[in-house]
Amino acid sequence: MIKPPPYVVNMGPQHPSTHGVLRLRLVLDGETVLSVEPVLGYLHSSKEKLQEEHTYLQTIPITDRMDYLSSMTNNLGCALAIERLAGIEPPERATDIRVIVSELQRIASHCFAQGTLLQDLGAWGTPLMYFLQEREQVLDMFEMICGARLTYNYVRPGGVSQDLPAPFFPAVQRFLQEFPSRLDEYEELLAGNEVLQARTVGVGVLPRDLAVNGSLSGPTLRGSGVEWDLRKADPYCGYERFAFRVPVGQQGDAFDRFMVRFHEMRESVGILRQALDALPGGPWKAPVPMVIRPPRGEAYQQVESPRGILGYYLVSDGGASPWRFHVRAPSYINLSLLNQMVRGYKVADVVAIVGSIDIVMGEVDR
């Protein structure tokens, strides 16, 4: 029998399962993947350079446009980094509001990740619509809070842009009452599904040590059994006050990453209940000048975004704009080990593996 030579196939940038404009250059032997190289940059807009030409307050809306599925945590990380650099202390109420919006954002983002993974695997329409229905409710609440559904510009240095409005509270209580039972229903419907199991169990296995060495983070790292969540390990915004678990996977396959997201949504519901019960009164914004001039120095602040560790490294020369504004983008670094994850699997498994990493190209390319 004649063995054909390996051949190269481009998957993307315009492929429905690549979540935007990710191009994967696959080297194949028949249906089996020999190696993969992600070809990036189709959405590159040089946001880091752009930030150096803006004032510190103006950097916040630009962060909205990186990971556009979790703009709240992007805003939060940037605001915390600026606060650390400039020595600003946000009031208590602002800190708790930040926790509330971060956890709502995590639910919205994970819902989208679950829905699109199933959509990619051929569960056409229905699961995605179920999850989008939940996400829409969160977006409605965000619209009440700040008027925007995607790019919020809500968390600012010193606090948040405005207080939570009165109609938000009944809406979030209703959501917290209904969402957990629906989440159980979805899990029952999906997790045991034979097709999903066949497509994800034992696919894209990532050993624990490799995941740590490759600097992966978020559900992708925790799916491999590493209990590393910044909300526990290095708490910010007073996360140490809330009781919650850090769900981890066992095998590190695509199914574990999928299940970690399910469990994280439940924990987020628990954090939201605690934060709403104990929400203090008082001011929601510290007095901060429009033009912040932090002293000469540097600050690195990490937050646990739905996709992993989102870090901001800011260097100030004492001026009104940052000298250097670097973003440690979890989606980008989570692609580091893609080659090790897909090698030896079939082309169809690439879809499941990329879907289970949950990348957002706006953040990968920045």
């Binding site: 740590v212 600097s215 708490p235 000298w323 580091s336 080990l337």
Partner: protein, 164 residues
């Protein structure tokens, strides 16, 4: 809570393990000699007292006189953090050794830093541009990259596409 290792204490330990490697002690960071960077990094990763198994962030800053590559390291086991820096002099072709053999997470981050800042990482397995295309003139995050000729960029993209 992650305990940040102070620059002074960490510098002592590094100097003890790899003599002559510490260039400058900062309150929250240690600047090490580029020639001994790999020995220092290997020590920080493999010594159980440090155990820095996780490279969270790798980036570079243009300080006009020199480029500074900044490593934010974490130990997931000990829950400690450290900041390591290394300097590359000159604006022509600054270079530092690649740590991608120690932490795989550096592979993409070093490519990004080379692409946008123009710091070369010697020993990197695949140091090509990642966000911009081959043939892009200059490195946009450098402070002297201010104005560019749109026509040159368009032509270089055409050239790169034809070469491919």
């Amino acid at each position: 809570m992650t305990r940040a290792r102070s620059g002074g204490e960490l510098a002592e330990a590094i100097e003890h393990a790899v003599p002559g490697s510490v260039v400058e002690r900062q309150p929250g960071a240690v600047v090490v000699d580029a020639a001994r960077l790999l020995a220092v990094c290997r020590h920080l990763r493999d010594d159980p007292g440090h155990g820095f198994d996780y490279l969270a962030s790798l980036t570079a800053v243009d300080y006009l006189d020199f480029f500074e590559v900044v490593y934010h390291l974490y130990s997931l086991r000990n829950n400690t953090g450290a900041v390591l820096k290394v300097r590359a002099e000159g604006r022509g072709d600054p270079a530092v050794p690649s740590v991608s053999g120690i932490w795989l997470g550096a592979v993409l981050q070093e490519r990004e830093t080379w692409d946008l800042m123009g710091v070369r990482f010697n020993g990197h397995p695949d140091l090509r541009r990642v966000l911009l295309w081959e043939g892009f003139p200059g490195h946009p995050l450098r402070k002297d990259f201010l104005e560019f000729d749109h026509r040159t960029i368009a032509m270089s993209a055409v050239q790169a596409a034809e070469d491919h």
